[in-house]
């Protein structure tokens, strides 16, 4: 809850390991808020978020931050790369934060840039990359720690159809190969169609997609 506004209420969802789930719904319906609560970025006023049998709402800020670093990866719509670091240094950040030596971090990051079709672009600053390339760097950074769960908020929002398709194919194929769970917020039905199912949020409630599709699986 933010001040007098209740951003989410009566939300009850279950996401299984290895699933790819799309979160859809009108602007302002609470999708980003839901993602931030699930990721332990925001603490809900009431309710619980259980991750592998741990209620993460019961953890303190330092514990949640450690959990995010070791288990979760994040991809956002734009502006997420540090502008003064080149592509490969941006990818090394989560590895270095986790205490990895720079040389090994650079080696692993280069492998991920290759995997995302960005070989030869590692030395470029974010401002020298196209939108689709920058988004691939962001995906490399989200996946480089081999997270259990990736949260993506409008990862294709600024891309054209073909670039969006390439980003989604890459993200979902890598995630499926690693068994990574992915939660993607998107307005775009085509982006959502790479997921196993969709959850519809309206006025802070989940109104469709959950039970019907779960039963379907």
């Amino acid at each position: 809850m933010f001040g007098a506004t209740e951003a989410l209420r009566g939300v009850d969802i279950e996401i299984h390991a290895g699933e790819i789930v799309a979160v859809m719904g009108p602007s302002g319906s609470g999708k980003s808020t839901l993602l931030h609560v699930l990721a332990g970025v925001l603490k809900p006023d009431s309710g619980t978020v259980v991750y592998h049998e741990t209620d993460i709402t019961g953890l303190n800020e330092a514990e949640r931050s450690a959990l995010r670093l070791s288990e979760f990866g994040f991809v956002f719509q734009f502006g997420q790369l540090l502008p003064d670091l080149n592509a490969i240094d941006n990818v090394t950040i989560p590895l270095m934060l986790a205490g990895m030596k720079r040389r090994e971090a650079l080696r692993q990051s280069a492998t991920w840039l290759d995997r995302l079709g960005l070989d030869g672009h590692g030395g470029k600053l974010p401002g020298e990359l196209s939108g689709g390339q920058a988004q691939r760097v962001a995906i490399a950074r989200a996946l480089v720690t081999a997270p259990k769960l990736v949260f993506a908020d409008e990862p294709t929002g600024l891309l054209d159809s073909l670039a969006a398709e390439n980003v989604m194919v890459t993200l979902t194929e890598l995630a499926r190969a690693m068994g990574t769970t992915v939660v993607i917020i998107t307005h775009d039905p085509r982006t959502a169609s790479y997921a196993d199912r969709e959850i519809i949020v309206r006025d802070g409630r989940i109104t469709a997609g959950q039970t019907a599709e779960a039963a379907h699986r």
Binding site: P26, V169, P189, R190, A192, S193, Y194, A195, D196, E198, I200, R202, T207, A208, G209, A212, E213
Partner: protein, 155 residues
């Protein structure tokens, strides 16, 4: 009745009078409506009908059965939306049911594209863009339901 139909749905093809009588006769025969009474008036006899429980159940079943996603679906989905509002049914729910059917089809097409040759991919993309157009209509209409409710029931 014809006037009500024409106002909501008849902009492209108004209802023929003969069709009204034939349809009423068939609905009566099938027990979907009951004759309430007749009153003499100007012109032909004016008969009053009432929908039966079976008839109401039939309307509900039709309304909440998702259409097969295909081009020109929209006119039927539009009719369902307006009728749901007229009857005080949950128009949001029927849009959700349709959205789920469309998303399922979109997922099938995305899966079919994986590893397919370019011809197949382009055919799938063509179908996908049409489904996306419907989905955009569904989302926009969902966002305007309150406004539409006022127009449909207030006019």
């Amino acid at each position: 009745m014809k006037h009500g139909y024409d106002r909501h749905f008849g902009s492209e093809k108004p209802l023929a009078f003969g069709q009204v009588y034939a349809t009423l006769a068939r609905l009566l025969r099938d027990g979907l409506i009951d004759l309430l009474g007749e009153q003499a008036g100007s012109g032909p006899d004016r008969k009053r009908y009432e929908i039966t429980e079976v008839g109401r159940a039939r309307v509900t079943a039709w309304m909440f059965t998702p259409d097969t996603p295909e081009p020109l679906l929209q006119s039927n989905l539009f009719a369902k939306t307006v009728i749901a509002l007229l009857l005080g049914d949950d128009a949001n729910r029927l849009l959700d049911v349709q959205r789920a059917a469309h998303m399922r089809r979109l997922r099938e097409l995305t899966a079919a594209k994986r590893g397919a040759d370019l011809m197949k991919i382009l055919v799938c993309d063509h179908a996908m863009f049409h489904i996306e157009a419907d989905l955009r209509w569904i989302d926009l209409t969902g966002a305007r339901l309150t406004e539409l409710q006022t127009q449909v029931t207030g006019a």
